[in-house]
Amino acid sequence: MSSLASEQAAVLALTTVSPREWYRTAAVIYEAGSALELLSGESRLLAQAHKDYARELVQRVGSDDLAEAQDLIDRVSAQGITLYTVIDEGYPSNLHLIYNRPPFIWVRGELRSEDFRAIAVVGTREASEEGRQRATRLARGLAEANVTVLSGLAKGIDTAAHTAALAVDGGRTVAVVGNGILVPIYPKENRALAERIQEQGAIVSQFWPDSPPRQMNFPMRNVVMSGMGMGTVVIEASATSGAKMQARLALDHGKRLFLLDSLVTSQEWARRYAEKPGVSVVRSLDDVLDVLVKLAAPPEQLTLRL
């Protein structure tokens, strides 16, 4: 067993036994810098809350948990899937900007460091023709500007966004899915699309590899999608949609939230959100890119608005 693999197995074992939200486990492991050190009782934790939680976690890890985790890693890796835990170098930097980062992600395809410049493009499954066109134009423009397009591989807006990014020469797109990485792509119609995404980008899952697409997975999936981007653009979405939930999560993360002008005109929830500080109403691609430029390269001197 390589030392890297055993660190990864330790992360999975600590996650398996987590009595509370997984992100708390991730936070403890990341602060400690080593899951194996946590298990051996050595710890570099600063926060008292973390020391207490780490002790509770470690007590719960059973004798077989590490070996079982290693078996899982071996089984999944054999299929060309990469595991990045919160302490691995390949774990996306953007996820380190959010407090509720997942303890691990499984990746089909390839994540690159330039995926730091990423924007989530989200919206309803029941998209109108206009909505799909808007998603297409925006995703194409983002990909042309070397921005990675994140979406959820669902019908409607997601499909339009991924497809448009793939059509750009060198365009990158990443699908963050709500099921395990070994579970067949859902919906079925998007299996061919998924194949192309993993060649030109990646498919990412934060769940146990065999987990079906449960209802409860999708809010957690939206946390990761918001987290992996510098911001989220909502194209077309009703008040009950997952896209609206991601809008709220983006604000909880201090990420940029962009609402299409047409969405704000048609949806009461979007009108309310547009009033909030830090939310941009977007008329063109440049409205998004301007913000991204300032975000990617913050100035040394910060001035006050006159």
Partner: protein, 245 residues
């Protein structure tokens, strides 16, 4: 032009409102004291351990471990990735710049008159080069001309609930200066109170503390529970602080 508002507005839903001093709110740090007390346990300990404690600290936001603001305050300086330090460091710099500009008169009121010098609490551990907090403060147009890096680790020991006059030492005479001392996180007050006392020992006539965050454990005692309920229920705004609310 990139302004502090552009880097802090997206964080408005992340900051947590600090209650003004009153029943059930510590008169020093604004968390919850034990029932029947006006000062919380840690402030009552740390203010007694130094010669010149600060009687009133001005926190910008409360936070709990591990929430989004904690993530900023923890990793703007300690992430091993430069892009993470850059993103979070900008949020912190903009937060301090915006708050101090907006509440300069509250700061003046706390110190007694205009500060003549701004400095930061240094690291108690090993850190090479400029401290990221000092760097964050110097990114503010308002604070930069007043900023003077004078505190260093002293011979004394500082730890959780353990403040000391000689934990830090000012490297320059500060006679007559009124100092605004800026800290990133305030936990027991040991570091901030030690630093404040060191500034006074070097001759400063007055010291006020602004801390970007004050940590709270909501289940610590009933008043902490109430303070945290308030902090989550009242929408955060840069328009009011716990001094002028």
């Amino acid at each position: 032009m990139a302004t502090v508002e552009q880097y802090t507005d997206p964080y408005i839903a992340v900051y947590r409102r600090v209650p003004p001093v009153g029943d059930g709110v510590c008169t020093v740090c604004h968390t919850g004291p034990g029932t029947g007390y006006s000062i919380c346990h840690s402030c009552s300990v740390t203010t007694r351990q130094v010669t010149y404690p600060v009687r009133h600290v001005l926190p910008i936001s409360l936070y709990e471990v591990p929430d989004q603001y904690w993530n900023v305050l923890r990793y703007y300086k300690d992430s091993d990735r430069s892009e993470v330090r850059s993103q979070l460091g900008t949020v912190l710099a903009a937060t301090i710049a915006r708050f101090t500009a907006k509440h300069w008169s509250c700061i003046v009121g706390m110190i007694g008159s205009e500060p003549t010098l701004v400095t930061t609490v240094p690291s108690t551990g090993r850190r090479i080069g400029e401290h990221p907090l000092a760097h964050a403060v110097r990114r503010s147009q308002l604070l930069r001309p007043l900023f003077f890096d004078t505190l260093a680790k002293g011979p004394g020991t500082i730890g959780h609930l353990h403040a000391a006059d000689d934990g830090f030492v000012a490297l320059h005479p500060l006679t007559g200066h009124r100092v605004l001392l800026i800290e990133d996180t305030f936990t027991s007050g040991a570091r901030a109170q030690s630093a404040a006392s060191a500034l006074r020992i070097a001759g400063a006539s007055a010291v006020g503390i602004v801390t970007a965050g004050r940590v709270i454990n909501p289940s610590w005692n009933p008043n902490c529970t109430l303070v945290w309920e308030y902090a989550r229920a009242e929408p955060f705004t840069f328009d009011v602080c716990c001094m002028c609310a």
